[in-house]
């Protein structure tokens, strides 16, 4: 199967933003096997683009075509400041109703095993980010959209996050889109940049 056949998201002349256009998006065909790095200055529409791809915002103009395979979790967006629900870490990880082994595997990846029964809302910022990432990965999305993934993570969690994403991408069933100002690198995985500039009428 060619990469073109595996395109998950195809955009053409896309404008994204909240009510009014914030960014003009270069035409892209998002496919698995790559890391897509969304860059741009503050206010350039990085978050708006991720939310638009996830279906949380409507495009202001242009076309955005979703070509997901029939599966319950298609695109999961992880906020830069994630919201954790009241209750235990386990309850949060079960949000997308993952199979038990997927939940436990995601928890183990981020070192959350010992804190599965702890109250998620009283964890530190870094721990909350780990829970949010594990929650998304447990849902086995076809497309994972992560806003500022590395803020608040310690070295160990960063390494776990990168290794987990490399594994998922190499298995060929996940595409990763990351919005961050920092340079990113995932072992052996090519990174493509989507450079956004503030939209001017």
């Amino acid at each position: 199967m060619t990469r073109a056949d595996r395109t998950l998201i195809r955009t053409r002349d896309l404008l994204v933003g909240y009510r009014r256009a914030a960014a003009a998006v270069p035409d892209v065909d998002l496919s698995p096997g790559l890391v897509w790095h969304v860059t741009g200055p503050n206010g350039s529409g990085k978050t708006a683009l991720l939310k638009t791809i996830a279906g949380l915002l409507q495009p202001i103009a242009g076309s955005l075509e979703r070509r997901f395979a029939q599966r319950s979790c298609r695109a999961i967006y992880v906020h830069s400041t994630p919201y954790l629900f009241a209750g235990s870490v386990r309850r949060n990880l079960s949000l997308a109703r993952p199979a038990r082994e997927h939940l436990e595997s995601a928890a183990a990846t981020f070192g959350l095993g010992p804190m599965l029964d702890r109250d998620a809302t009283i964890l530190s910022n870094g721990e909350q980010r780990r829970v949010a990432l594990a929650r998304a990965i447990a849902g086995r999305p076809q497309l994972l959209l992560v806003d500022e993934p590395e803020g608040g993570l310690d070295e160990e969690a960063l390494a776990a996050w990168r290794a987990c994403m490399v594994r998922a991408i190499e298995e060929g069933d996940t595409a990763l889109v990351v919005a961050t100002h920092r340079p990113i690198a995932f072992d052996g995985i090519p990174v493509r940049e989507i450079r956004l500039l503030p939209y001017r009428t």
Binding site: G55, L56, C73, A86, L95, A96
Partner: protein
Amino acid sequence: MFAEIGRALALIVHRDVEVWQITGVSIAVSTSAVVAAVAIGLPLTYVLAGSGPRVTRVGMWCAHSAAALPTVVVGLTLYFVLSADGPLGWTKLLYTRTAMAVGQLVLTLPLLIAVVLGALHRLPASANEALVTHGVTPARRMAWLLWEVRTAIASATFLAFSRAFTELGSALIVGGNIRGATRTLTTYIALEYNRGDDARAIALGLILIAVALTANGLMHAFMTEQ
């Protein structure tokens, strides 16, 4: 005065049958009104909260305005609706406990909506977005978000019960204070006060306060637990 209070306490201690029967009617009517308000109010509030900022603002304004309605006005309106030549006269609900519960439902529903809508409105947008993006079904989304505001729901429920349990105007007009049927603590207090039986009126008032304080205590216990 002290003699009257002594007689009132004696009535309670000696378990005056009628007093306790009336207490039972009051609790049953108010509880059914509040259960109905919760059953109708929570889904309705959830829909209002998810219908955009303009609808939420209008819903909040309407709920606050309706929560301030005088109980006698609600009672009077319901009386005209349920009276024999009113639009719902055929239901023959006037002077029944059901009519009293409906009156209390009208009084408590806006209160519940105002408190819960405010709480849902204060949740960050990322809460609902996290549910949507994780593919949570609309019914489960409602359950998850309402659970996030459970202390507000508990608070609103007990406030609603207190308003229903202690109201007089609507219960008197649509219930009719019929002995053994629609007589409640508040309507009986009004009757005994008019008759001049202060001891009985005080006894009923003490029970009214005790039940309201118990409801308040339960609410605080729940909120502390959470």
